[in-house]
Structure formats: C-alpha cells, structure tokens
Amino acid sequence: MRRIAGAALIAAAALAQATWAPHLEVGGAFPNLVLLGAVAVTWTVGARSGMVWACAGGVLLDLTGSGPIGPHALALLAGVYVIGFWTRSMERPNGVYVALTAAVSTVLYSAVLVLAGGLLGFSVPRPESMVWLAFAAAVYNALLMPPALEVFRRIQALSRWEALPN
C-alpha cells in the first residue's frame, strides 16, 4: 500500500512538473517538483530511497519530454547521490542546510542533464543561458525546498513511509 502511495506521489509530481510547473516560470527557470521530492525523500527517508525516487521520477520526466529515456533519471541520480553524503552526517538539519542541498542538487542535475544531452548528440544551450538557467533554477528550488520538506514530512507521518535499508 505504501509503495502504491509512493508511486502515485512520484507520478503526480512528474505530471505536475510537465503541466503546472512551466506556468511558474521566472527568468526562464521553473521549479523541479520531482527533484524537490527526491531531495525531501533523501532527507527524511534516506539516500537509497532518494535515489529510487530520483530514478523513477526521472524516467517519468523523460517520458513527458523529447529525446531518449534516461537523461533526467541520470541527472537526478547524480544530484541526490551527492547530497546523500551531506544528509547522512546531519541529524536535525535547519532550513538553510535543506535549501542548500536543493541548490547543490539542482546545479548537479542541470550539469549532468546538459552533459548527457551533449553526449547523446543533442545540441546544448548557449553557455551563458545554461549558467543563468542553472543558477535561477537552483535559487528557485532552494526557496521552495524547506516548505516542500515540511509537506513531505506530513505526508510521511500519515503513511508511515519506511526506508530502504541504508
């Protein structure tokens, strides 16, 4: 039951990302709800569960966009894996740390996504656009991360979500 609820939550986040999130665009960037979810899972449940969320959510994002299936999952995995080191060493994080992990994860996600696109033969954005978009998205996600984590904690409390063994 909890797995079904988790899967439904991932699917809802990915669909909202492809339908609602672009309407929240500021300066060319918009929030990444799947990334916020993956970071929230990493903080609350654990790094391994965060990676599973990132992988599943990334594949769904790939299915809503153009091109091959896999780059978004790869990019999200990289972002979540790195912040996993951070989350393991902190018992009770404050809002600033939580926001910073979202920002770092967004920058890594953006870099890997563009790199993967380039390796798979797709042209990449102009460097100045790329840097600006990554920066703007990092700030955007960082601002949204603390409230998103709070929402996820409440959902987790309702469903008593269990972690994969770390």
Partner: protein, 272 residues
C-alpha cells in the same frame, strides 16, 4: 563502520542505477526503438490531459472571485486579435515585395490551401533547457515528425516525436531549433536559433543594407524545413559586428508558449 558500509551500499546502488539509465538512454535512442518510445510517451498523455484539465478548472473557479482574471482573459483575447491583424499586415507587406511567381507560391502556402489539424496543448518540457510542449494529436490524427506547428500569431515550431495520440513539439525557443528567416524591409537573410528568454538571429552582411529594429522576421524557406512566409517575430535589438561575417540580433517572438492552449499542425507541408 556502519557509516562506511551504508555509504558503500549507496554507492553500489548509485552505480547500478546509473548503468541501467545509461543503457536505457542508449537503447531508447536507437531508430528501431522510436515506435516503442513514442508509444510509452503517449501512455502518459491521458494523465497530462487530466492534470491540465484540473489546472483549467481551478483557474475558472478562481476567476469567479475577481475581475482581474476576466480582464486578463479579455486582454489576452484582444492581444490575440491584435497579433493576428499585425501578422496579416506583415504578410501583406512581405508579399508586396515579392515578384509575381514568388507571390503566387507564397499565396499558395499561406492561403487556406494548407491542411491543418487543431491540437490542444497538454504539457510542456520538464526542464528549462529543452523548450518543448506536448499536444493531444498524434499519428492517428495524421500528425508526423517534422510537421510544422503554428498559431494564429505565427510560427511555433515543429513536431519532434509523434505517438498514436500525442506528439511532442520542439518550439523555436529550444536550443536545438534552427530556422532560416529573412527580414521584411531590408530582405536580409539569417539563421534564427532558440534561447530561453529570446530568439537569437545571425544576420548575413550585405553591402549597403542595414537591418533596423522593428523589422519583422519571416521564414525564408531556405533548407526546406519550413514553408516561406510564416511570421516569426520582430527585431528587438541589433549588435553590429564589423569584424565578423554576421551581425547578431535579438528577436521578440510572436508566440508566448506558456499562454498557449491550442496550436495548428500543418499536415500537407513535407519538409525536405
């Protein structure tokens, strides 16, 4: 000890998942997998339709509580009408500069001779780097990859992938997008490329001819990817580069993808 083991297990899972995703990306990119990939993407379309519908319903409900939304809708309608009228003026001006045979061809391309399929926008690209949108028409409706997509205001992009009941449109704002255009007054030609905030135009130098702000950019038909004469945007700023073979200009696109609900897919133009 426990921390090191936990870290090692996470690294192991990370490597396995990365390898799986790399293999999936490479396999799904193969030409023989295009059908399965498009079908998988089409499977998500009903979910996107439902989410878009929910967003529309919420928008309708909130609009009841104030005049602002009504005024915005009216403003959007008037803006749309204004864009259509401006497009007509630009197209008429451009057509007037053509010789008889070109005018005949242009008239054919622009007239109602084009068969179009109206499609509803049901989703957008999931990240800020690729500027795509998903529409609710696919191969079952005659939509094929490569087909040109327009709105009442002008050119929007082209179909990138098509599943049975949905298609992904690569808009002009996508970094991979390239369109050959000419300017309505100076007739200078150039290549337009996508960008997140504005479209960038590289204009070829022509002795004695200078582009000016406010000129309209229309598709030139060079390369055969788009029909000639579709309105793309207005020249917003120009940077002259005397040492280079081209000048760089920013073009204000006639379309605002985030506010689009419906688009038209031209089904009878075959890109060469």
């Amino acid at each position: 000890m426990h921390g090191a083991r936990s870290q090692s297990r996470s690294t192991g899972l990370f490597l396995v998942l990365c390898a799986a995703m790399l293999v999936l990306a490479m396999l799904s990119q193969q030409p023989w997998a295009a059908g399965a990939r498009s079908a998988a993407k089409s499977a998500l379309a009903p979910g996107e339709v439902a989410m878009t519908s929910v967003a529309t319903q919420v928008g309708r409900m909130t609009s009841v509580f104030g005049d602002v939304s009504t005024l915005r809708a009216e403003n959007a309608r008037l803006r749309s009408a204004d864009e259509a009228l401006r497009r007509q003026v630009v197209e008429l001006n451009a057509a007037a500069k053509e010789n008889a045979s070109l005018r005949q061809a242009l008239a054919f391309q622009k007239s109602s001779g084009h068969h179009t399929v109206a499609a509803e926008v049901i989703g957008a690209g999931p990240d800020g780097f690729s500027r795509t949108m998903e529409v609710d028409r696919g191969t079952a409706d005659g939509v094929r990859p490569g087909m040109v997509v327009v709105t009442g205001a002008g050119l929007l992009g082209r179909v990138r992938e098509a599943g049975p009941h949905a298609a992904i449109v690569q808009t002009l704002a996508d970094p991979q997008s390239r369109v050959s255009v000419y300017l309505s007054t100076s007739s200078l030609q150039g290549t337009l490329s996508g960008g997140p905030t504005s479209l960038q135009l590289e204009l070829q130098h022509t002795l004695g001819v200078v582009a000016s702000n406010g000129e309209w950019a229309l598709t030139s038909g060079v390369g055969g990817a788009f029909p000639r004469g579709l309105v793309v945007g207005e020249l917003a700023s120009l940077t002259r580069r005397d040492a280079a073979a081209t000048d760089v200009a920013q073009v204000a696109w006639v379309n605002e993808p985030s506010s689009l609900s419906f688009v038209l897919v031209i089904t009878d133009f075959q890109p060469s």
